[in-house]
């Protein structure tokens, strides 16, 4: 009885060994892969960046192609450069590996250079969302070919194009371009407001006062409704007095509004949709670089984040960048 059981052991071990083996697919001679490098929202005025990698074991790399479901704006397409890190300096260095980079409508193409040595390259593809694509989803199909006629491709997921508008580096000046319209995302002077009948479009006023009543005040944005902090300002004739809700923040350093690398905080549509302004003030004072304020127009049409890029006490100016969402 025991002997037949013992005989079964090698068979079981053999079956287990076979069962544990991974099925090995034959090596593909042409491979590709895709990485989305940007992590922030896709917003008009900024770009999405992809790294598309392709390599061949047979023949030479020939060309690459990217097709977007929605055509991008100017600047959309492949970059001619691949990048490598200089180990001495730690700085990324470009090296041209592609040429004839073209974008026609939804399709971008590039030809690979120096194919005898460039058997594997990673190219950057930039996509600039347009105003027409706001609120829509966009996806991309990347593909490449080699000289043997083989083709390989990879499909990206869908990415939602933000409904927000963004405008960077608006210079506000105390007593000058101090009147800001969220609808226009523009700063006007008192004369411009009066001459262009903008009295009903101004959401906040920029003022700089080092102190008020001996207390530190500094750079501020104030709704026209506020009589206290605009007491010494001669407002444009007929200026409406909406109570714009203004809620100061010191720790929301939006990377896109900041415009520099190294920050990974982003304001997205949902932030402007869901920010509550219960009992919010109609002013924010003591503003400094990297600070800002959530702002909502008095009629509830727009919510925005006003980010302070820089302040200048001598020139009495404040440079701001704005992300704005139309709520209704």
């Amino acid at each position: 009885m025991r002997q037949p059981l013992l005989l079964l052991i090698p068979a079981v071990v053999a079956l287990l060994a076979v069962g544990c083996q991974k099925s090995v697919e034959p090596e593909q001679p042409l491979k590709n892969d895709l990485l989305k490098k940007t992590v922030g929202p896709a917003i008009v005025g900024d770009r999405i960046e992809f790294a598309y990698a392709i390599g061949t074991l047979e023949g030479d790399l020939k060309n690459v192609r990217a097709e977007a479901t929605v055509a991008g704006g100017p600047g959309t397409g492949f970059s001619r450069n691949s990048w490598y890190t200089n180990y001495s300096t730690g700085v990324d260095q470009p090296k041209q590996t592609a040429t004839d980079t073209l974008t026609n409508g939804n399709v971008s193409t590039a030809n690979i250079l120096d194919v005898a040595t460039n058997k594997a390259v990673t190219l950057r593809y930039y996509y600039y969302p347009t105003a027409d694509s706001q609120g829509k989803d966009v996806s991309f199909r990347f593909s490449g070919t080699n000289s043997t006629g083989k083709e390989v491709s990879i499909q990206s997921p869908n990415y939602r194009i933000s409904s927000m508008d963004m405008k960077r580096s608006i210079v506000l000046g105390d007593g000058a371009k101090a009147y800001v319209s969220l609808a226009d995302m523009t700063a006007y002077t008192k004369a411009e407001v009066e001459q262009n009948n903008l009295a009903n479009k101004i959401d906040f006023v920029y003022v700089y006062r080092p102190t008020i009543n001996t207390f530190a005040f500094g750079h501020a944005i104030v709704a026209p409704s506020n009589p206290t902090y605009l007491a010494d300002v001669t407002l444009p004739t007929g200026l409406a007095k909406p109570r714009t809700a203004i809620d100061k923040r010191v720790d929301v350093k939006d990377a896109q509004l900041r415009g520099t690398a190294g920050f990974d905080v982003f304001i997205d549509d949902i932030d402007l949709q869901q920010t509550t302004f219960t009992n919010a003030a109609d002013y924010a004072y003591g503003l400094a670089a990297d600070q800002g304020a959530f702002v909502k127009s008095a009629d509830g049409t727009y919510a925005a984040y006003v980010y302070v890029n820089a302040v200048n006490n001598t020139a009495k100016t404040m440079t701001v960048s704005i992300k704005r969402l139309k709520l209704k």
Binding site: I212, F215, D251, T278, N279, A281
Partner: protein
């Protein structure tokens, strides 16, 4: 002799086991009710919408006898939207809850409740604005 030592040892083990299984009382919020009867506030702070303190440094006074807190908010503070925080003696709780946006244009009442939940003391918190 050996047997009596063994029984004593087993008895202690059983007693410890019973103590370990006993449930400590907790309140409605799931917080431990302890034996402490101390009941007072030790500090108070108020944050603005930017989550930075709005109080003038060194001007906050917690009077545990008169049951009052007085503080001065910096010039320009929006008193309608500030968030109070405080610290309490060990195991005590406070009602209404702190850490929520509150209108401090009028004095607010906060009741400190001791760790044994037997002692309650209501503090009046008054914050005046620099003008």
């Amino acid at each position: 002799m050996k047997r009596s030592i063994l029984y004593t040892y087993l008895g202690i083990i059983a007693l410890l086991g019973l103590c370990a299984c006993g449930k400590d009382p907790i309140d409605d919020a799931g917080l431990l009710i302890t034996q402490r009867s101390q009941c007072y506030m030790t500090s108070f702070d108020l944050l603005g919408s930017d989550h930075r303190t709005v109080l003038v440094s060194g001007q906050t006074k917690v009077d545990t006898t008169a049951l009052t807190v007085t503080a001065i908010a910096k010039f320009g503070t929006n008193m309608q939207r500030v968030k109070p925080f405080c610290s309490l003696v060990s195991d005590a709780i406070v009602d209404a809850p702190m850490g929520v946006w509150t209108d401090f244009t009028q004095p607010q009442l906060y009741t400190v409740i001791s760790g044994n939940r037997q002692v309650r003391k209501t503090y009046t918190v008054t914050v005046t604005l620099q003008k």
